[in-house]
């Protein structure tokens, strides 16, 4: 008996004793673990299931739909393999859609980033009212694209719009914004830049404020002028911010929908990839299979841009 009772006394110090699992303690640990797993599932499962059902499943469904010749609302669909893709990549409409998407993306991203940087440089001067101006310039970014689109439809009206009125004071005729497809594209680009430049400005401003003060002071001591400081110090220091902004802006503009839908419902001259995916299925054509093909291509593009972002960011991290 005594030998049995002395056994625990001779066991090693408490720290290692924790690792010696008697059957009961393992059971208790297992129970706690199981309890934690259940808690995790109870808390996280609803969100995860929703994400699986409404974000992951559609990606697979789209790929399946894209192999069908299927009219929206029809009970049956004919499997056609890659026909939709062949049609998409050989159609002359696609060349036009690619051109419009490219022009829209480059112009809106370039325009909002350039204006955003200029505004950020001014905001960074800490003048009176800079805080208010920052919020004011950002505000269009949070407003409904539908409401914003309606305002600008009114302002661009060639007869009674305020832009036509301003042009009239200079004896200029108003361009036919809504009838000329290439001018329609210019118009939606202007509105999109107006709505998004504040976002770019706020992000550029954050980047500017992260430039170390001593670096700027050192440049000033060395006699660098304003332009020189901007080109040799501020711009390079801003490059990670600019890159983040570039990628998010490209992703955002590839998803632009509301303004295009409201200002140019028929999409003449303004049919981007995303708008084509909508028009094909819900714009009266009811071509569900073809729309799914366009969506799948669009998703491929988004993956590509995100992959580029990750690769470049990774390299930057290693570089540091």
């Amino acid at each position: 008996m005594s030998s049995v009772t002395s056994a625990p006394v001779s066991t090693p110090p408490p720290t290692t004793a924790r690792h010696v699992r008697t059957p009961t303690s393992r059971l208790r640990f297992g129970a706690r673990e199981r309890h934690d797993y259940l808690v995790f599932l109870a808390l996280a499962a609803p969100n995860i299931l929703l994400i699986v059902a409404f974000s992951y499943r559609p990606l697979l469904s789209n790929i399946y739909y894209s192999t069908l010749n299927w009219t929206l609302g029809a009970a049956t669909a004919v499997p056609v393999g890659f026909d939709n893709y062949v049609r998409f990549f050989t159609s002359p409409d696609t060349a036009e859609i690619a051109r419009v998407t490219a022009v829209f993306t480059v112009a809106t991203v370039g325009g909002s980033m350039l204006l955003g940087l200029l505004i950020a440089l001014v905001l960074n001067r800490k003048v009176r009212g800079a805080g208010f101006a920052r919020a004011a310039v950002f505000s269009p970014f949070v407003l409904s694209g539908v409401g914003v689109g309606l305002i600008w439809v009114f302002m661009f009206d060639p007869t009674i719009g305020v832009i036509a009125a301003v042009l009239r004071t200079m004896d200029l005729p108003s361009p036919q914004w809504f009838n000329d497809p290439s001018l329609s594209l210019v118009m939606v680009i202007v509105v999109y830049v107006w709505k998004n430049m504040g976002y770019a400005a706020v992000i550029c401003l954050a980047g500017l404020q992260a430039v170390p003060r001593d670096l700027l002071e050192a440049a000033a001591i060395d006699g660098a002028g304003r332009l020189r400081t901007f080109r040799s110090i501020i711009l390079p220091m801003l490059s990670p911010t600019t890159f983040f902004l570039l990628i998010t802006s490209v992703l955002n503009s590839l998803q632009a929908f509301d303004i295009i839908r409201i200002m140019t419902p028929l999409g003449r001259g303004t049919t981007t990839l995303i708008y084509d995916a909508y028009l094909q299925a819900f714009g009266g054509y009811n071509r569900a299979g073809y729309s799914a093909t366009v969506s799948t291509v669009l998703f491929g593009l988004l993956v590509l841009f995100t992959a580029i972002q990750m690769l470049v960011l990774e390299r930057r991290v290693h570089y540091r």
Binding site: F54, V127, A135, V137, S144, V148, L150, I203, D258
Partner: protein, 294 residues
């Protein structure tokens, strides 16, 4: 190049109100700032003013800036053409319920990911993050087939459900929860507090600003959401405000309707503008998360 050159320069620097500095500040900072704010504000002001103008005042080549009266004729006219009040109520219902559930889901998921033991949590988090990259537009057709197949067309739940899963809110709150002092939670655990108690009595109360940020961003998104409700709702009495405004623009495409359209724009834009004006710090912080790392 010596004392005489640095003298006056120091002089202007030490006197911020010296004429040279005033001119420089005006040209370099103040004027561009006013210009930028004007470019942003003028269309909104124009919307507000025009929403009170009669068709006669709108439909003219001699534009006057101010409306003759502040009678809400256009708002009443808009209410006659589409169920305006109903649209507003629909938008409010969808926004409050949608954003409310979204915030709860984000809090629960983020807490589980940070504080509850589970295998492969990093992988799960990564899988949730990927959804930030999947725009709702890409999922449009499959979600339409699923939800309309379940009878969700022209219902509140049909509008709300597909957007509930939240990658953004989970991401934002997880980042915040990871900065909380773990010692408080461990102390609570030793005192016998379970997960639910730790979540509701400790984590939520000390995470106010982050939760407000997620809530505001969700509210703005739900209120402005357009494409999904446009597709899933066809009954005007179930439409949200942005969808209903499309109806207004489609039915009254002639120039006479501009005043009414501006009244509609005011209804969809001004509530968000008020929320933004009062809590802009949170909204901007939430929407620009992740921009500047380090």
């Amino acid at each position: 190049m010596t004392m005489s050159a640095t003298g006056p320069e120091q002089d202007t620097r030490t006197h911020p109100l010296a004429p040279r500095n005033l001119v420089a500040a005006a040209v370099g900072s103040f004027i561009p700032l006013v210009l930028a704010v004007a470019v942003v504000a003028l269309p909104l002001v124009w919307m507000l003013l025009s929403s009170f103008k009669t068709p006669g005042e709108v439909l003219t080549r001699d534009l006057s800036v101010l409306p003759h009266s502040l009678a809400p004729d256009n708002y009443l006219q808009a209410a006659r053409e589409v169920p305006f009040v109903r649209l507003f109520v629909n938008s409010a219902i969808v926004t409050v319920i949608g954003a409310g559930i979204k915030v709860l889901l984000a809090i629960f998921t983020a807490y589980a990911l940070v504080f509850v033991r589970f295998p492969a949590k990093k992988l799960i988090f990564a899988a949730i993050l990927v959804t930030l990259m999947v725009p709702p537009q890409v999922s449009l057709l499959p979600n339409y087939m699923l939800v309309s197949g379940l009878g969700g067309a022209d219902t509140y739940w049909g509008i709300i459900l597909p957007g509930l899963g939240t990658g953004f809110g989970t991401f934002l709150l997880r980042q915040h929860f990871m900065t909380l002092p773990i010692s408080i939670l461990e102390a609570a655990e030793i005192d016998g507090a379970g997960h639910w108690r730790r979540l509701t009595r400790i984590v939520i109360p000390i995470s106010g600003p982050s939760i407000v940020t997620v809530a505001l961003v969700s509210i703005v998104f739900e209120w402005n959401d357009y494409l999904w409700p446009l597709v899933i709702v066809t009954d005007p009495s179930m439409m949200t405000l942005p969808v209903g405004l499309t109806l207004l623009a489609n039915t009254e495409s002639d120039a006479l309707a501009y005043g009414v359209m501006m009244a509609g724009s005011v209804a969809v834009i001004v509530p968000v503008l008020i929320v933004f004006a009062s809590l802009q710090r949170y909204v901007i912080a939430g929407l620009t998360q992740g921009a500047v790392k380090d």
